[in-house]
Symmetry: C2
Subunit: 539 residues, 2 copies
């Protein structure tokens, strides 16, 4: 696979925009105009000389530095297409052992440079983007530590190099009859160490849990030495070191080897799509199912706007018309909401789950029937492909970004509506319309995640397009921060979300995080500016 240097995923894969999908977008946001993109050669030509001292593990080639300068956030996207990168790491290292990571950290202290850990480079919140610094910056790319090192079948614990990406996690486990079951949308590129460092959550968290429930132990190299966290099923012996290190985003150290809880491959896995008559019926049904602890592996409910958008973007016009006719015949109008769910387990377990699920969906007016199975299969096949869409729309001048949070059930409607309204109105001063839609996934008895996608037209320049994005992102982020929700349910904090962290942690929570970071990294050498804003003090 050749990886795109300035966008998502495999260069050979293109997700086309369907004609009626394009027509829907244009009908809302108007006719777009594309912006010109720079080439890799143009960018490598502007990479300045490296400030790093020589070291056998450090590479300073311009292309390596370009390819590690940015993640996948919208500002990253603009930088990679405009060529206005700002800053590049001064070099990249590709360690193959924990010992080499240790050596690089020791060298960083000795030579006074900064270190950014790099997993799959899939951050959408600025985690791995270098900032301006008087010191040189080394990016440590963990991709060569990508092996299944041990599989304990009795305890169902697998040990991986922290740089192992999703497909290599699963292929190495599947060869032995096991699965981790962690499928974030970034799965094709993101790594197990990155999932842990940023508290990731995957599409099948209903069965397998978030990465918090999978992370059993591991090794973190810190500036004070090696922190080994033993695998213990559960403990009341004080705060859990797994929980303290998870989500530190490189500010405490670098995970090099990790133990995760795996499962035997399930006998059967099936996905289905139902349509519910309206939002309230859909939300009530999924809440009922999760609060009744019905075993499922995933469940997602799209609001009417997302249901319409997906039906256009994900199908040919003829398919859409057939589906629309069928659903209208069954009494579902434009208020209908798409509900996608999966069951994973033994055939007996799935059968009993499906019986409970169908009962609740039907009692809330849900329609499945002949389409349920087929559309579920289509969802499963395309589950990691949505990020590729940004590529195709961008070439037409359409910008896409997403944002996500989670909140308690009683706050879902208000927060969701406020986020959508804020985004829809964010560019009114420019007379620009924004196409906005949302789904709930990651269901909990207490609440759920809210995941909103927005499409808008590129402005006449990169600078003005960035300004549009700022209005959208900052506006929605402020809504989230005001409404007892989290600034991120699954993307992490990085640099983009750091200013909003205090709203949910409080001053004393920020004090805790700064105290830990200051103790483990007194010179702000490890991924500075990520997770915690620089120059802030809470004492």
């Amino acid at each position: 696979m050749g990886r795109r240097w300035n966008g998502w995923g495999d260069e050979s894969y293109v997700k086309e925009v369907s004609d009626h999908g394009r027509a829907l977008i244009h009908s809302i946001i108007g006719q777009p105009e594309p912006l010109p993109s720079v080439t890799l050669e143009q960018v490598t030509a502007q990479v300045p000389a490296s400030r790093l001292p020589q070291h056998p593990l450090i590479v300073t080639d311009a292309e390596d530095r370009v390819r590690h300068a940015r993640g996948q956030s919208f500002p990253d996207w603009l930088a990679m297409h405009s060529g206005e990168f700002g800053f590049f790491p001064d070099g990249v290292a590709y360690p193959e052992t924990s010992g080499q990571v240790r050596e690089l950290l020791d060298f960083a202290v000795q030579q006074d440079f900064e270190v950014i850990p790099y997993g799959g480079g899939t951050s959408v919140a600025g985690h791995i983007t270098p900032q301006q610094s008087q010191r040189a910056i080394l990016t440590i790319d963990m991709s060569r530590m990508n092996q299944l090192l041990d599989l304990n079948e009795e305890s169902q614990i697998a040990t991986f190099g922290a740089g192992t990406p999703g497909p290599l996690v699963e292929s190495q486990l599947r060869a032995r009859g096991y699965t981790l079951g962690h499928y974030p949308q970034s799965w094709e590129l993101s790594t197990v160490g990155g999932w842990i460092a940023s508290r990731s959550s995957g599409q099948q968290s209903l069965r397998y849990g978030r990465i918090e429930q999978m992370f059993a132990g591991g090794r973190m190299e810190t500036l004070h030495g090696t922190l080994d966290i033993p695998t213990i099923p559960a403990s009341s012996a004080g705060p859990d070191m797994r929980e303290i290190t998870m989500g530190t985003e490189g500010r405490m150290g670098i995970f090099t080897e990790v133990q995760v809880r795996v499962s035997r491959l399930a006998e059967e896995e099936k996905f289905f799509v139902y349509f519910m008559p309206n939002w309230q019926a859909a939300k009530k049904a999924v809440r009922e199912l999760v609060q009744q602890r019905v075993p499922m592996s995933m469940m997602r409910v799209s609001n009417a706007k997302e249901s319409k958008a997906h039906a256009h973007l994900g199908t040919k016009e003829s398919q859409f018309k057939a589906l629309d006719k069928f659903l209208r015949f069954r009494g579902l109008d434009d208020n209908r909401c798409m509900l996608t769910f999966g069951v994973t387990g033994t055939k007996f377990q799935n059968k009993t789950s499906l019986r409970q699920i169908r009962k609740v969906l039907k009692s809330n007016g849900g329609v499945g029937g002949v389409i349920a199975n087929m559309m579920g299969t289509i969802w499963a096949e395309g589950r990691f492909k949505f990020p590729y869409l940004r590529e195709s729309t961008w070439e037409e001048g359409i910008a896409i970004d997403t944002l996500e949070t989670s909140t308690d059930w009683d706050n879902v409607d208000r927060l969701l509506n406020d986020i959508e309204e804020t985004l829809e109105n964010a560019l009114k001063d420019e007379n620009e319309e924004v196409m906005v839609f949302t789904h709930l996934s990651h269901l909990y008895s207490q609440g759920c995640s809210i995941y909103t996608t927005y499409f808008f037209r590129c402005a006449d320049s990169y600078a003005n397009t960035y300004k549009r994005w700022q209005k959208l992102k900052y506006g929605a982020s402020e809504v989230i921060a005001r409404q007892r929700a989290t600034i991120s349910h699954q993307h992490g904090v990085g640099k983009d979300h750091a200013p909003y962290l205090e709203a949910e942690k409080g001053k004393l929570g920020m004090r805790v995080l700064h105290t830990l970071a200051d103790d483990f990294d007194p010179d702000q050498r490890l991924n500075p500016g990520t997770l915690l804003e620089q120059g802030k003090s809470y004492k």
Copy 2:
């Protein structure tokens, strides 16, 4: 209910030792001789003058101070029966609001005294025992903050005063159709704030989770002010403040109000007892069930020694003989292991769970039949009564203590055997035998808890009985610390387990905990000596 001042629970309840149970104990440890016990009056007479300044919230009566001087550990038991208390708190406060706790903490700083938070006083690891100190010591008893303050039915979140004990948690919820489902053996006395502060786990953790999964948010009063943790279902926004505060055992502050995740009362709940032919078959069956994610609410497997002990202690001789005859007829000999389990949910869910459970148990040689349901009901009725047994045996000169840990499945047999052997041999130098037995409960896909009970004879004095206990406890604790297990799965650290914490946390883990405690409590004013040993430094 009148609470025993020097032992467990309600004064009016007595759990008798059955004659054949007594005979079994004597056949192993020999004929015991009781030690004389002091009276409450004798103890109150020795309470010294209080060193605390006057304050309207502070009570300095001798009986209040005696009743808050000790928990329920074995050393506490010896102190409460010998009268050798060591130290008493200088006073007790019974705040009714978060504001009063805040006021007491501010007063503690202003007047330079120490503070010990007190929930149900059920610690078995020395959490709430005052140490010698130059400063006065105030125990803050949270028992007057015992109300259900709010129930959000949509988000299934209940807000309680942190001092609410188990029965008041459940009765207030049940009146509204809800349950928390947290049932540690200490449930009759222990409090929701105490569960959170010490990372408790209850008997039905398979369904409801540990307290970690229930704790949704809350308020902690600290010396730096109020830490409010909002209820957010899940988040990737950096380390979770719930996880950082849980298990701090009063060293960071005092929980005053807490939010917990509750469930609708289940349609049906049933408990059953099966007998498995031997330990390996029993262990294999329970591991298979939990790794297959079969929904259950509890599952516990006793080894052959515990199965025998429980059959004697828990039944009349005639009942035991009938059971023994039945099981031998079904082919189960002295190697048989008792397996207790429960299902909780809708009738349909329970039926499908039971079908899966019975299939796995039977394929591993399990015998249930007519006795399963009856014995399960007996277990459920007596589930909180075991601690009362200590009272009856003590009067005969038999000492009882328990210890517990958790480890991965592949380490269970070795660790369990090492613990039992260490205990059985710990008093060989005195030619004393120890009666030891064990069960596994709290099953996880990765491993399980190990809970060992030991009976031994009191020595000829309190001092020598304490020495016997030290040999037993220290010996087993060292085995646990050496074998990648936790020093406590559900009892917490307190003062008794603090010396063993470094074995599982590592030096860098200890550095994290000390850094946090030093920042939140620079003068070691909050529950000093608990969780972290005093005078240690990891920098």
